[in-house]
């Protein structure tokens, strides 16, 4: 799965993108976040304040979204454009 990170989350993880092989039991966006936070403390730190959004193929989704057909998942803090 291709993962993208932006802004503060990108800085904490120290990567703008990566490709990760996900285990079979990762079905939802919530499963993915749990998997990442257990994988390494760097993700745990990045997501610790729970103040982030997840976009699957450029659509913001909830934590129960099924990622089976998703190609790219972006994780980012609340937006501050305009």
């Amino acid at each position: 799965m291709k993962l993208l990170y932006f802004a503060k989350i990108r800085e904490v993880i120290n990567k703008s993108e990566e490709i990760l092989e996900l285990p079979q039991n990762i079905n939802t966006t919530g499963d993915l976040i749990k998997f990442l936070t257990e994988l390494d403390d760097i993700y745990k730190n990045a997501f610790s304040d729970k103040n982030f959004f997840i976009a699957c193929d450029e659509e913001v989704v909830e934590m129960d979204f099924l990622i089976k057909d998703t190609k790219e998942i972006a994780i980012f803090p609340p937006v501050t454009g305009g």
Binding site: A7, A55, T80, G81
Partner: protein, 138 residues
């Protein structure tokens, strides 16, 4: 006509307005421009804007289309910049035109409000001492 641009270079309001006046037989055009302002307690050196290109383009397009659906618009231009900006530099330009001013005003406000909470852009303020990611304000 919908025109969406995401660019690092500065935009020129008068050029954009010329396009509108050439094309537009409508009665009302509303222009909103957002610029980089100084901080209250510190000196801002630069404002960096990061964005998610594919999604930003989609969200801006959708916002303009929704504004078209809800108000009687004839033109809508949205330009948003990214990269390193300085105080006074323009960040965002929204031009809406319609036969009547109320719809042009309402659509313009809708677009900037929606963009601020949904378009994937992030601002980082760099001062002499530190760098801060801007957080969402209500």
């Amino acid at each position: 006509m919908i025109e969406i641009k995401i660019q690092s270079k500065a935009f020129d309001i008068s050029n954009e307005m010329k396009k509108i006046s050439k094309l537009n037989a409508d009665g009302a055009t509303v222009t909103f421009m957002g610029s980089v302002r100084d901080l209250e307690y510190e000196n801002l050196e630069t404002l960096e804007i990061e964005y998610f290109p594919k999604m930003a383009k989609k969200v801006l397009n959708k916002t303009a289309k929704d504004a078209y659906k809800n108000w009687n618009l004839s033109r809508c231009i949205i330009i948003h910049r990214y990269g390193k900006l300085k105080i006074g530099d323009p960040i965002v330009l929204i031009i809406t035109s319609s036969p009547h001013r109320k719809e042009a005003f309402k659509a313009n406000e809708y677009i900037i409000d929606f963009l601020k909470t949904n378009a994937p852009f992030w601002k980082k303020e760099n001062t002499e001492k530190k760098s801060y990611w801007v957080t969402q304000k209500n």
